[in-house]
């Protein structure tokens, strides 16, 4: 064996036939090509920028933005910097993505369940919904909902009043909200305390069950605490009932909470579109659990709710969560289409910034960085989750 090895080593192999050396050479060539391309593009860009006398760098972020933004979660005016304007945009993106994700999961689960229902009518309707929504571009849907808002709904003078305290007009939807009161802060505190207590109770109940086998009604008690604590605080602090009702003043509603048509059109479009995909994910997940699992669980005497909670869901979720997260990420990325209907999300604000300052490279880089941050943090979460739920094989 030794002789053979030596003889092979002695025989001179030209470097282009040695796989290891060839691999190194090939990689060097690839890097050189990519490097050259990058150098070529950068040098062209620098020359072009110099010709158009555009300064590079992010110093423009500290300048005054001098444009207004329709809606904002933090105080903002045209006198603020571009950096703050972009922050407003990022927060608006997070706002619509967060609310959208919550609503999408709820609606998607309902439609997915309807698709699996033994009720023929419901199942077919769900199938039609899924097929239709998946086959129409999201941008078209956004335009459609936005058009419905500003073309079909009446002006704010003749606003529709579908329910008590809700006004629908082409200026958006105005809701009645409770008048701000110090009690609300204490209610929030009570809710947080309730969360901590619920967490402790869950731990205690699990330990007790492991020790004695007795089951404690965790869900009911938790719900009681989470709802009861804030309600109790509210009652103790004098039960403030004053409501802030939207009133028509001039051309728009004053008071209450007004949600812009852009936001609603965007939210509606994103939720209805993504829910169709989520419904398919949920359906596939539940179907992936074989029938035998349910039958086995029922045969050992579990009731329907524990069958779902202890047997079906843990297995279905393992299949559901990865594609579900990618759908949530899709929703977040699709929220960038807000720029087309004028909702001030991050892309829209960045676009305005680019148009005003001419800092196109920095602007687009910022857009990419923000979305990359969202998707990378999602994939970190996914890796953590996959490790947590991975099947433990024996």
């Amino acid at each position: 064996m030794k002789d053979f090895k030596d003889s092979a080593a002695r025989e001179k192999v030209p470097f282009w036939l040695d796989p290891k050396k060839r691999a190194i050479l090939f990689q060097l060539m690839t890097f050189a090509m990519v490097g050259l391309l990058a150098y070529y593009l950068t040098s062209n860009t620098l020359i072009n920028l110099e010709k158009q006398s555009i300064a590079t760098g992010f110093s423009f972020l500290q300048k005054e933005s001098s444009f207004e933004i329709g809606e904002s979660l933090i105080p903002y005016s045209a006198a603020n910097t571009y950096a703050r304007a972009l922050l407003v945009g990022a927060l608006n993106t997070i706002k619509v993505a967060f609310i959208g994700i919550v609503l999408t999961i709820i609606l998607g689960t309902i439609i997915g369940m309807a698709r699996l229902s033994t009720n023929w009518l419901l199942s077919k309707l769900a199938a039609i919904y899924i097929e239709f929504m998946q086959d129409i571009p999201i941008l078209l849907q956004l335009f459609f909902w936005y058009a419905i808002f500003y073309e079909t709904l009446p002006s704010s003078q003749e606003a529709l009043n579908p329910g008590a305290g809700i006004y629908l007009s082409n200026r958006g939807v105005a809701f009645t909200i409770p008048e701000p009161h110090p009690a609300h802060l204490y209610m929030l505190l009570a809710f947080l305390v309730g969360c901590v207590i619920v967490y402790l109770i869950r731990r205690w109940a699990r330990k007790r069950q492991e020790k004695t086998g007795q089951i404690f009604p965790v869900f009911l008690v938790s719900m009681g605490i989470l709802v009861g604590f804030p309600l109790l605080t509210w009652w103790v602090l004098g039960a403030p009932l004053k409501m802030n009702v939207p009133k028509l003043g001039g051309f728009n509603f004053e008071g209450g909470l007004t949600v812009s048509p852009e936001f609603i059109a965007l939210l509606l479009g994103l939720v209805l579109y993504t829910a169709a995909f989520v419904a398919e994910v949920v359906r596939a997940g539940i179907q992936s659990v074989s029938k035998g699992q349910r039958e086995a669980a029922m045969s050992i005497g579990l009731r329907p709710v524990p069958v779902l909670n202890l047997v079906i869901l843990p297995q279905a979720l393992r299949v559901i969560v990865p594609p579900l997260t990618s759908q949530m990420l899709n929703l977040t990325k699709n929220s960038s289409l807000a720029v087309a209907i004028g909702y001030p999300d991050f892309v829209s604000v960045a676009n305005t910034t680019i148009n005003q300052t001419g800092q196109s490279i920095e602007g687009v880089a910022l857009i990419m960085a923000v979305y990359l941050f969202f998707s990378l943090s999602t994939s970190v979460f996914m890796n953590w989750y996959n490790k947590r739920v991975a099947l433990v094989e024996r």
């Binding site: 691999a23 990689q27 890097f31 062209n44 419901l122 720029v339 087309a340 990419m368 990359l372 998707s375």
Partner: protein, 361 residues
């Protein structure tokens, strides 16, 4: 034997067969389902007849916009009076037969390619010739066809062009990226992973912005590409990353034995991939590739944002005409139907293929 009772004489009770049995089994099995059925039927009754009335009975089909505004229902006249502009954009009016013929060639090729028994070499040549002819028809300039600048292309042909050329060019790039990602060379692997994850992490719109604003800066002075080509490049770069991920799935589905068998008969990397691995791996991933084609087709609508006159943008410019302002619903429903027909036939086809392939033929 003669004493055997004829089974046919005893029929199941009437409530278990036929229409009644079906309704009972599928709509009213249990209290909860019965309530659901009744509620759903009630909602349908509330929604469907008024919609039907709006869309078909009270609607105006081929009138002036004035007559449309007086009609109680839908105004389909916005489509019938402007369909040439919606479908073909600013393409010279007398020359509309050219994009129309190009689309016919495309549909013909697509239709012929449906059958997998036609997937042979002549079909590939047919596609190359077909795509070339389509380009020639659109562009003109020879054979007595007046030249039409690509800045005038628009409407449905542009949408189809962006989708079909986008996918055709993105496919080989995606396969190379997927092979690179599975490569044993760390340098190549890292580059491919970086590219794929970067692109998949950002929305298409940021790439389109890049193509429309930054791309001109990348080029030396005097060299310019037109807007459509730049958007096309962005769509290709974007789609390639998604195709790479799909192809990677197919490559991972190949068993080790396939690689080892190819190596054992002395095939090198290139031949292993070309003759053994890729033909099998690409066959597995045909259905997900069709879904990428569907998303690419839908995503072409995003070029509206960088002001290319695709199908959606031509519709919007009809809507911005004061004469036809206010009929967005009808116009968008029409565009939605076009997109739906395209996507639905593709997804239907993908399901059919999936069934065929899983039968293992």
């Amino acid at each position: 034997m003669k004493q055997v009772v004829q089974a046919g004489e005893i029929r199941p009770p009437i409530t278990h067969i036929g229409v009644i049995g079906w309704v009972k089994n599928n709509l009213f099995n249990g209290v909860f389902n019965s309530i659901l059925t009744v509620v759903t039927l009630f909602l349908l009754w509330k929604v469907v007849p008024p919609f039907f009335r709006w869309a078909f009975i009270d609607s105006a089909w081929h009138t002036t916009s004035q007559a449309c505004r007086e009609a109680a229902g839908a105004c389909w006249s916005i489509i019938s009076m402007n369909y040439r502009f919606i479908l073909f954009g600013f393409y010279p009016y007398e020359q509309h037969w050219r994009p129309f013929l190009a689309m016919l060639i495309l549909f013909g090729l697509l239709f012929y390619s449906r059958d997998r028994s036609h997937w042979k070499k002549p079909l590939a040549y047919g596609w190359i010739i077909g795509l070339f002819t389509m380009g020639l028809l659109m562009k003109g300039g020879i054979l007595g066809l007046p030249s039409v600048e690509s800045t005038q292309w628009g409407g449905l042909p542009l949408t189809l062009l962006l989708a079909v050329f986008g996918l055709t060019a993105a496919y080989p790039l995606g396969v190379i990226l997927a092979l690179g990602r599975r490569s044993r060379m760390p340098g190549v692997k890292i580059l491919c992973i970086l590219y794929i994850e970067m692109i998949r992490g950002v929305p298409l719109i940021s790439l389109l912005f890049m193509s429309s604003i930054i791309f001109p800066l990348f080029l030396p002075e005097g060299v310019t590409f037109n807007k459509i080509l730049r958007a096309q490049v962005a769509i290709i770069l974007f789609t390639a990353a998604y195709i790479a991920e799909v192809v990677r799935g197919g490559l991972q589905g190949m068993s080790r034995g396939q690689y080892e068998a190819a190596e054992s008969i002395g095939l090198n990397y290139y031949l292993t991939m070309r003759l053994v691995i890729l033909p099998q791996a690409l066959k597995i991933v045909i259905p997900p590739t069709v879904s990428i084609l569907i998303s690419a087709f839908k995503d072409t609508s995003l070029v509206v944002i960088i002001a290319l006159f695709d199908l959606l943008k031509t519709t919007q410019s009809v809507l911005s005409n004061p004469e036809w302002m206010g009929f967005s619903r009808e116009a968008y429903v029409f565009v939605a139907i076009l997109y739906f027909l395209g996507c639905f036939s593709m997804s239907n086809y993908s399901r059919k293929l999936e069934k065929e392939l899983s039968r293992g033929d």
